[in-house]
Amino acid sequence: MKQTLAQKLVARAAGRSSVTPGEIVTCRVDLAMMHDSGGPRRVKPMLERLGAKVWDPTRVVVITDHYVPTFDDESRKIIRLARDWVREAGIDNFYDEQGICHVVLPERGHLRPGMFAVGGDSHSPTGGAFAAYMFGVGATEMLGVLVTGEIWLKVPHTIVMEFDGALERGVSAKDMMLFLIGRFGMDGGEYQAVEYRGAAIRKLPMQERMTLCNMTAELGGQTGLIASDEVTAAFLKSESEIWESDANAPVLAHHRFDASELAPQVAAPHSPANAKPVDQFLSIRPSVAYIGACTGAKLADLRMAASVLKGRKAKMRLMVAPASALDVKAAEADGTLTTLRDAGAEFLGLGCGICAGYGGNVLGENVVAISTTARNFKGRMGAASSQVYLASPYTVAATAVAGRICDPREFVH
């Protein structure tokens, strides 16, 4: 029987030779990732209530990102609890203030093609860029995994998004995702597996692929997947197994697009599904440009912004919250950070920053912002009256320079 990548990954975890979409199976979990918000502070009391221990501390990774840098007594308490708990539970894989979990996890070598993983965060499909089946769960479901090492799953159908051709310079993975969410809606993924394929996908570097799988959350898929190849192996700095769908494996839907025709996209408040080509927003004048989050502040994202900002000055408040410590180091070394600083960027601490809306920094009343993040839900990043436009790092940088939303292709040619 021909199997999709999703079916192969689920079958391996379920100890089966094949699985059928729609059937309910129990999977062994290879890796469980948690952050400070949905992690230790939630699972510790439940584990104590059960009198249970973590099934395998070597398979658990804890990363602080939501409440760092700490800003008040509550956040300090949450972070202290996380630090104490990993020690008690014997979890060595702990990354404290090293960046956002979805970016830190693969860059520290925890993800391999073929794995079955859960994360205590909705952007966990990011891991699917490495041909691993990874999806988000809530704290109680995480508790179930921590106690049993298992989780149930309804075997997903696969929806294929195939992009032929190549992206034009100034157009990015973020634009592909905003386009898809605008086209299919926030439930277009039907909580199935969304697989990205085609020549344009193969050409994307690893962090751009991560952006595709990351925003599968906003497309409503359970996970986003990309077959492993030499790009995956190069990022992981090791030979890695090839995991891919069988040719002609049956899928729920197969959509084909020409990447070379894709224009930069912008999503209007208050939904990523409000995405349209950038030329429909040229009269909008934001006062804040924000480059942040697992979706939009990885090294690749910072470089995209820098390619626009080089030798230019931002005409509005430009804030940058880099996604990981290793990415900051690389961006410092190659001059990316200097370019951003020279353009007038203010830097926030490593972590989820304004995107989660949990921290000390939030958008004020009636602020209009353009952001590289994934969600512009009402009130998410601050006041309910704030207005957030979503766009790529290229478009956000170009907007900062122009003082109004504009097409970044004018700046990078």
Binding site: L50, D121, V137, G138, G144, D187, S271, Y358, K378
Partner: protein, 156 residues
């Protein structure tokens, strides 16, 4: 009654996430229905459109609704992650294609076995919750369900 794509930031805004669930529940639906937490009564139903609970994995979204005493959620469809979270907390979530036929203030009766919701005017069908999940919901959610399983394991 709520519309389509009600997201988790609307159900429980992020800035309250650091507080206890009792506190968070007081801000439930604040951006779109500021009086919700005051007006809602234990045993009430929350009815939504398509993709109810879109967005975050934050379990505080269904937990706040449970805290306020919501008896069940009825929607045309749910975001998958929210759906799993609700059932894991013992809060029934039923997928009813005709949810929009329900009106504000209707007295409802739910039959989980038959998959029927009775309004004062008609009976609407819904997809019954899969048996292995309904058993967990009856136990009060995954935590009490695991407690029961662990107890069985130690006594057997």
């Amino acid at each position: 009654m709520f519309g389509d794509n009600i997201d988790t930031d609307v159900i429980v805004p992020g800035r309250y996430m650091k507080y206890s669930i009792e506190e968070i529940a007081q801000h439930c639906f604040e951006p779109v229905a500021p009086h919700f937490a005051k007006d809602v009564r234990p045993g009430d139903f929350v009815v939504g459109g398509r993709n109810f609970g879109a967005g975050s994995s934050r379990e505080q979204a269904p937990a706040a609704l449970r805290e306020l005493g919501i008896a069940a959620l009825i929607a045309e469809s749910f975001a998958g992650l929210f759906y799993r979270n609700a059932l894991n907390l013992g809060l029934p979530a039923v997928v009813c294609k005709d949810a929009k036929r329900i009106r504000d203030g209707d007295r409802l009766e739910l039959d989980f076995e038959q998959g029927l919701v009775a309004t004062p005017r008609e009976k609407l069908g819904f997809e019954p919750i899969p048996p292995h999940l309904m058993e967990m919901v009856r136990d009060g959610g995954l935590l009490p369900h695991l407690q029961k399983r662990l107890k069985c394991r130690t006594t057997s």
